[in-house]
Amino acid sequence: MEYEPVIGLEVHAELQTRSKMFCACPVVDATQAEPNTAVCPVCAGMPGVLPVINQRAVEYALRVALALECEIATHSLFARKNYFYPDLPKGYQISQYEYPLAQHGRLPIFTSAGERAVRIRRVHLEEDTGKLTHVTTPEGETYSLVDLNRAGVPLLEIVSEPDLFSVEEVRAYAMALRTLLRYLGVNSGDMEKGVIRFEANVSVRPKGSSELGTRVEIKNLNSFRALERAVAYEIERQSRLLSQGQPIEQETLGWDEANARTYSQRSKEEAHDYRYFPEPDLPPLVVETAWIDEIRAGLPELPHARRQRFIQTYGLSPTDASLLVGERAVAEYYETAVKAAPHLPPRMIANWVLGELFAWMNESGESIEQLKAGPEALVELLEYLQSGEINQTTAKAVLLEMLQSGGRAAAIINSRGLRQVSDAEALRALVAQVLAENPAEVQSYLRGKETLAHWFFGQVMRAVGGKANPQVLRAELERQLAELKARQTS
């Protein structure tokens, strides 16, 4: 029997506000800052202190919720989620439970099968926990260190419906969400810093069935790679079990990256009872409709809308459009370039951005904002290419130098004398000269070895240092060779 997976994702995204969710401590880069330097009595859970909601975090959450086309609750409620762990200073996490900030949204995803909307179940605010580092000394002694810098950092939980049916869709959804968060300026998307974390609910069922199978929850997936591999592993494992007639256990799983397999953390019976109850220290979170409208009006053009527009306005392929809008800065670079040079074909500019610039960024590690060649500089270069003053090869070489030195195309081309010889008169003389200097090859050509035309082409190119306009040169060479042929027959 063939099986089909049904997957829902819970995405935890840190909101990169200046201060924490419930206190004035700064939000610091957890991978850089000295441990426990961004901590105060509130986020350390000292006796008698109280949380105060960070308004900016609510604003960021609303941006995301609105971009996901959610219904916003004008009244939502914080609750306490109770459990003991050394990284949880209060012994409970303040989170939203029964009454989340937003519900019923959608996010379009693009896969090889085309575009489809994934339904969003809910979007709610909570606080992050601290970080534990487990240490084993050379003597074999083990202990754990607690860093509370991350404790209390605003966290947005975005929960999808079980609307994903393949690893490809899981990836597309996760990527689309990351792109969206970055567009909205609420999260850096730096996966290696743990600012976005995934949990996947995975079940499988016989293909064509409309019932849901028993699901497992895979926790703590901190990279796209881990997400994809863990989901793929689970689909495979569950399908195998079902085909052998064995049941799936409802349980919570961890992902063992080194051994590329999931492992059981908790069975259904061992599931935590979090004893949620409304947080008495915080009044209901009330968001005024006028504020919601203001935030909605301030949203940037969102990735899927921009992608559609790029396809329609600039005639780009869906793939190229996706690649360009994947990062807001890239899309903006591209569009600035297009607007700076209305007579250049937008697809030509797209090719250069996605080809040469992406290759350079990959190699150098620079972001598009760091490039020494901005969009205006790029199109200046492309105009030389378009007019035929330089050829493709020269253009690539010039761009490389622009990216290395920050020089402009005109200066590089002029100082190196790279301007292409397009002048038909000049090329006529050069072609005539090459043919005159190589009588034996001309004879072979006339006897039928026509491939020698390429050799003559190369000889002329070499004579001008590669700067001949190839179209003009080819036309002139063909004309002179045809003339010789005609003379021979007559």
């Binding site: 009595p41 350390a44 000292m46 006796p47 008698g48 105060v52 409970y92 004893r275 109850f277 220290d281």
Partner: protein, 492 residues
């Protein structure tokens, strides 16, 4: 001349303003009284004499300097010695909450209610005894030993703010701060013959008040008359950006008329508060006090608060539920007691097992149970619904009357050990004080008599949300024509 320790807050401030006494004199007198009576009463967990004397000296210096600048107003309580319940944080002074688990905990912050009084110029002489985490009605649940009642040292001072009430009654300080989650200011005020306010929930910041039942906890004050209490209350009250549950409503100055006149005032007497189990002398004293209010021009009306009998079960679900979460932070990881073990969970267990007393453990378990999956709706959820009905009772009653007058506790102070074996009997001590906490309305307790054993009897006035000034006006009128608040414990 009266002894310095007999001065009320208003008298002490007047004497300071007139230059008749210095803050140092007052503070030394308080410390001397504490030294004399503390071995008998044990009202304090931590004394801060050096800090207090330094504050007093600074206050005197400031007052002296101000003589050259008569236009600049001085802080209103400059140089006044007070005591603070050891549930409210004071930066740099350990805050035990009456518990072993916080024996060594020194907060790096000060509770807003305390800070506002510090800003007003008070001198803090020490942190007073309390039932562990404010859970109790006798101050016997303190890990540091019980406080005794100055009126009869074989009896309890009430609780949980028993240390503060006893300290004020014994003239160790003219005023003290307490907290009231289910009666913890009013009942000890009643047992010790002093006046005490439980403000409207949301009126005084809870920041730095170590949480027990977060939706019920309030910070209040004790003094020997209601005019003094009103002064402290007024300075403590008001919106605090650090406590989102404080309301941004104005705190009007409390005008206490010179002439006692209660004409036009409607006093409600709730029939559910005069029930079997009420000590006859308590009922008699309270009814007499109501007659005094009537004689001052008030009209008296019977009212009904029909859900009163449910207040006790509702309270003992909601407060422990919140406590079970509030006390989860005491895990030995970051501060306070840690009992070491090789394994994490064993460290948690030992720390909490040894750090908490029996009553605290009882309430944590009660609350954990009430919140558990499968029981939440039947217990916590149901309790919240009934809480709404109790709140509604008060709203309906306050459509008919301006204040409600009732006994504070069913009995006068009981003997040490009398209820310690029977938690339920202890819980019943709070039947008359719990409803105000559940409804969030203010309550003011003050003495209205002595029973046959010479033990103080207290009455409480309850009012609508944020109408504390009415309670103060009525009680002040009463104290202008009676002298129960001037009686001294025989110990003195």
């Amino acid at each position: 001349m009266t002894a310095l320790t007999d001065l009320t807050v208003h008298q002490a401030l007047e004497a300071l303003a007139q230059g008749q006494v210095s803050s140092l004199d007052l503070t030394r007198a308080c410390l001397a009284q504490i030294e004399r009576l503390e071995p008998v009463l044990h009202a304090f967990i931590t004394l801060t004499p050096e800090r207090a004397l330094a504050q007093a000296e600074a206050a005197d210096a400031r007052r002296a300097a101000a003589r050259h600048h008569p236009d600049e107003p001085l802080p209103p309580l400059l140089g006044l010695p007070i005591a603070v319940k050891d549930i409210l944080a004071l930066e740099g002074v350990r805050c035990t909450c009456g518990s072993r688990i916080l024996e060594t905990f020194v907060p790096p912050y000060t509770a807003t209610a305390v800070q506002r009084l510090l800003d007003a110029g008070v001198v803090v002489v020490g942190k007073t005894n309390t039932d562990e985490f404010a859970m109790g009605s006798s101050t016997e649940n303190s890990a540091y030993g019980p406080t005794r009642n100055p009126w009869d040292t074989e009896r309890v001072p009430g609780g949980s703010s028993g240390g503060s009430a006893a300290a004020v009654a014994a003239r160790m300080v003219p005023a003290a701060l307490g907290t009231d989650t289910g009666g913890s200011v009013r009942q000890p005020a009643s047992f010790c013959g002093v006046s005490g306010i439980k403000p409207t929930y949301g009126r005084v910041s809870r920041y730095g008040l170590v949480a027990y039942g977060s939706s019920l906890d309030t910070a209040g004050a004790f003094a020997r008359n209601v005019a003094d209490v009103a002064l402290l209350f007024h300075l403590m009250a008001g919106h605090d950006p650090l406590d989102s549950t404080t309301l941004d409503v104005p705190v009007p100055p409390i005008e206490l008329p010179a002439e006692p006149d209660l004409r036009g005032l409607r006093v409600g007497v709730p029939r559910e508060y005069f029930i079997g189990g009420l000590q006859p002398e308590v009922e008699q004293a309270v009814r007499q006090a109501i007659a005094v209010l009537e004689a001052l021009g008030a009209s008296v009306h019977e009212v009904s608060l029909p859900h009163t009998e449910y207040a006790l079960p509702v309270y003992y679900l909601i407060a422990p539920a919140e406590a079970s979460a509030n006390l989860a932070r005491y895990d030995g990881v970051r501060y306070g007691l840690r009992v070491e073990s090789d394994a994490l969970w064993e460290m948690f267990r030992r720390t909490r097992g040894q750090g908490f007393g029996a009553e605290v453990k009882r309430r944590i378990m009660l609350g954990t149970y009430a919140l558990s999956a499968g029981y939440y709706e039947a217990y916590y959820g149901q309790a919240q619904k009934v809480r709404t009905l109790i709140k509604r009772d008060f709203e309906v009653a306050f459509e008919q009357v301006d204040v409600i007058a009732a006994p504070v506790a069913p009995t006068t102070a009981f003997r040490l050990g009398e209820h310690t074996e029977d938690p339920l009997a202890m819980y019943l001590e709070d039947v008359f004080t719990l409803p105000t906490n559940l409804a969030g309305v203010p309550g003011l307790a003050f003495p209205v008599g002595l029973d046959g054993r010479g033990l103080p009897i207290g009455m409480q006035l309850m009012g609508p949300h944020f109408r504390e000034e009415v309670l103060f006006r009525v009680a002040h009128a009463y104290q202008q024509v009676t002298d129960w608040h001037l009686r001294k414990p025989p110990l003195l």
